[in-house]
Every structure is written in C-alpha cells, then in structure tokens.
Symmetry: C2
Subunit: 276 residues, 2 copies
DNA sequence: CGCTGTGTTGACAGGTCTCAATATAAGTGG
DNA sequence: CCACTTATATTGAGACCTGTCAACACAGCG
C-alpha cells in the first residue's frame, strides 16, 4: 500500500466508520480518536500520515474480559492497536507467580515485544471487554518505507515504553512495598492524564487486587496492608475499583521518582510525506 | 547527508580507521566490528547501509572509569554508540539508593531513553575506560529518511531492550535474591554470547560488588550471602571480577525465565536501499 | 442455589535490610 | 616506589518488612 494507491475503502479497515464523526474522509478529525493519542503525543500528524495509518490496520477483533490475546511462547509475532478497553501483559513463572509488566490503555500498541524474538516473552490478557485492531507485519514494513516520520514516532513510543519500564524496574529493585505502590499509582495517573488532561483525582480502574499486587510486585495480603496505611495517612482511598487520590505530593515523595515529561524537541524527525 | 553525497572522508567520523583491517573502504568487513554487532544481529547489512551508518557518527570521545556521560535530569537528549568499554545506566533515589537499569557493552546505543523525554531519566557512567561515538539527532533523522530498513532494525533493537527490561522487571518483582541474581547472570552471559559465540564459562566482568548489588536490586551484604550459597552449591564462583559458571541448568531453574532467542523472521522489513 | 474466584484479616516464619566492625584493595600524592 | 587515604569487600547480629499459611466474608456466575 502506498499513498498513491490509497482508496477510501481502505479507511474503514482500521477504524469503524460508524464510531467517527465527522466522517472518515476528514482524517484530521481522527486525531481525537484515543488510538491515535500515543502517536500524536510527540507531534501533530499530517492528513497524509493519518490516511496511511488507517490503511494499515486489519479488521477489528473483540475480546471478552479474561480472554487471552497472546500467550507466552507464541512463535508468531502479532501486533495490535488497542482501540477500546484495557489489557495486561504479564510474565509467568513456573512456580505460579506472575509479574504484570504493564497495563495497556486505548491507543497503546500490543505485542510489539514479540517482534524482536522467536517466541513472545509475554502473555496479553483482556482486563475488560476489549477491541483491538491487528497490525500486520507487512504494514509495519510499509510504514517504515513510506512514512519515515511516523516510523520515527513509533520509535519514540518504543523508547517511552522503555522509560516506563525503567521506572518500574527502579521501583521494584530499590523501594519498599508502599513506595512501589505509590510510584505505580502515579505512573498510571500520569498516563491517563496524558490523554485526559482534565482528569480529576477520582479514577475508575478495571484492576482487581490480584492485578494490582502482580503489578506492584507484592502479595495481595501485603497490598491490603499498604492500602490501609495509605488510607489511614489520608493519601488515597481505593474502594472496589475506584481510586481517589488526596495527596499527590505525599505519593511523589514516597515514589522517589520525578514525573516524566515527553519531549517537545522533535526537530530531528524526518520531514512528513504528503501535505503537512 | 544522503548516500549520493557520501565521501570517503566521511568514513572516518564514526570509526577509527587505524583500528580496522581491512581498510574502511571495504565496508562489509566492518560487520566484525563490535559496534555493529547489535545492528547486524537481525539481518546482514548491505554495503550501502554500512556506508550510511559510518557517515552519521561524530568524533570519538574517551571517558575514564567512573566518569559520567549523562546525568539524570540533563535536558539535552544525547545519544552515543558504545565503541569500547562498559558503561552503566542507573536511576538514583533521593535517599541515596540507586538501581542500575542496564550495563552496556560495545555496540550498544547509549542515551536513547532521553530521546523521548524533556529530561534524561538515567545517568550513564563509565565502568571502565570507555570510547563512545556521539550520534547527533540529525543523523537519526537522516537514518529514518534514507535508510528505512536500518531504521526498522533500530526499532527492533529498542524492542529487544524492552524485552530485557521486562525480564529484569519480572525477576525483581517476583523472585528471591538468589533467583534475581541467577537471572541476571544468565542475561549477561546471553548478551555476551550473542557477540562471542565461542564464549566459555569463565567471564571477566568489570563490575564491583556494589554494581552487582545495584543491578540485582539487593544489598551488597546480602549479595555476599547469595554468592556463598551459589558457590557452596557448585553453581558458580565469582572471585574478584572473574565469574565462572559451573551449572547453567541450575541457574536457569532458579531464574524461572526461558532463554530469549532473537527472531529470524524479518521478512517484513522494508527493502534495503542501495546495492544489497 | 451452590460454586468458584476474589477480597480481607490474623498469626507466624523467614528473607532481607540495617547497623557495625574489620579486612582488603585501589587510588593518591609525596 | 612507598605511605597514606579512601573505597570496596566481607562477615556477624539483630530488627523489620514481607511472604506464607489459614480462615472466613463476599461477589459473580452458571
């Protein structure tokens, strides 16, 4: 697929036309779609880039809560764009323990770690009812060939993912359970705020206590102790699936890590193809 | 810089001609150079790609052991290719603790995490006498514009880095000190073996006990207990800076993580530019 | 309605950290 | 090259954090 051969019928492949308004032949409007939030976080995309992006996706796929999208060891690399819902990627141990590496929100790319390996290192599970758009490998090749600026943005996003992992790694390696949990909460809040700037201090999160514990690298038993402590100290309350944050400064102090701001210094990106 | 404008005088920018034989105008020979090991791990580079690569680097810079290349908070993104020696990137906490995120070996790219952020999230320190080649941002742009296949390989390398972080994250989150250490040793061995296939079971590593502890996410005090245990169990011995591994299977069992094999399925990569 | 998975709490054990002291190695300046 | 200083390495003892085990309440779901 090249820009020259793009047809309007291609546009429906990645995004459901019915969910969009104004209609899909006005690609700039797609900037609002959550699945483009990550891509447009660094720099505004051009209409031509949006057209290309949309031409690359496959038909949507829907998963129920708990359904597995990718299993550890799968030897066929498969990537998706998360359109709707939350998923979690995790590494399981032979002794039954597991570590959730990351929870994915709409706009995140799923399965990219499998691109580099012969077998997928992670399993991806739906935390909620979920809609994904497959991203065929050939589409990635097309993107690198025809849209160098988009490719560079994809690279930046991968780098951003690494930074998030670095922060988690530092937290798990060098802080207490309470501190781990604090940095986890802040990171999730930061990510949500990136797509919802007007996010308040009350958040609904589709995460069970087991998920939370597997994310923070502690047991559910101890997670409860941590939650109690933080509630007693009026830092936050987490009832059911509703998180309410009272004291961001206290959380930040506990975490020991600074907030991460995306760069705006993207002058080095190659020029966009097509009309800007 | 485009391929058409490449001059031989460009070739000396990235690699010291005197260290190479056969001479630099035979670019295929450069595949042997350690700094290209990572890039050529997925697919053999074409002469044109090698030429472009060499044209992108800046003048070498040498660091003494302990010297700092990048500090946390630096607001100017700066990337390098590690030519010689080892470095470590770490995140420090206000209370004085620090977590080493990764040790870098020749061929690794340094500083890429700073590309995505307004401030560098990590500090990079030389563990040995070190030689780096700066990689200006403009060069990255050129690479994405003129060498789509190289750009895609760069992306794959970033993904590979993420997988290594994922494994560390899982280890730090869900295993004991001994298990953390076992997976760390295996990962380092795996990385070394990727560039030295004939690597034996005796390795010299320029890592102090403090470095090791900061990598494994434990204290030096406890690291000593772990080392004793593993030596008593005839799994490995670590005298001074020399590691000798006796029982890989035992290490693998402890780690709980499988070995990671790079993919050979790179048919999706865009075509190489220039003569293949 | 029973069943299975999740959430919560208590008591206990064990792993890891902290503190402290000493031995050894590395680095520095004369 | 040596004496001095500093950083690193090692070991022990005690405290504390966190995991394990167990029991029970509760919710979701067939």
């Amino acid at each position: 697929v090249t820009l020259a051969t793009l047809r309007h019928s291609d546009l429906d492949l990645m995004y459901d036309r019915s969910r969009l308004s104004p209609p899909v032949h006005e690609p700039a409007a797609l900037l609002d779609h959550p699945s483009l939030a990550r891509l447009s976080a660094f720099i505004k995309l051009t209409p031509a880039e949006l057209l290309l992006l949309q031409s690359l996706g496959g038909a949507h796929r829907t998963l129920k809560r708990g359904e597995v999208l990718t299993d550890e060891g799968d030897d066929q690399p498969r990537c998706f764009v998360l359109i709707e819902g939350w998923t979690a990627s995790a590494i399981a141990f032979p002794n039954g323990k597991r570590q959730i590496i990351k929870v994915h929100m709409p706009g995140d790319m799923l399965g990219t770690p499998s691109l580099a390996l012969a077998q997928s290192p992670e399993s991806i599970t739906a935390l909620t009812k979920t809609v994904v758009a497959p991203m065929p490998l050939s589409a990635l090749g097309t993107l690198f060939r025809d849209a160098p600026r988009l490719a560079a943005i994809l690279y930046l996003i991968s780098v951003e993912e690494r930074v998030m992992l670095m922060d988690r790694l530092a937290a798990l390696g060098r802080s207490s359970a309470k501190e781990r949990f604090a940095s986890l909460v802040l990171q999730i809040h930061e990510r949500l705020q990136r797509t919802s700037p007007d996010l308040g201090n009350v958040i609904d999160l589709p995460l069970s206590r087991i998920d939370l514990a597997d994310l923070a690298g502690i047991t559910t038993v101890h997670l409860n102790r941590v939650l109690h402590d933080l509630a007693d100290a009026n830092v936050l309350s987490w009832k059911g699936k509703t998180l309410e944050i009272f004291d961001f400064a206290a959380l930040r102090d506990m975490s020991g890590l600074p907030p991460r701001h995306l760069t705006s210094d993207v002058g080095w990106l190659p020029p966009a193809h097509g009309p800007g």
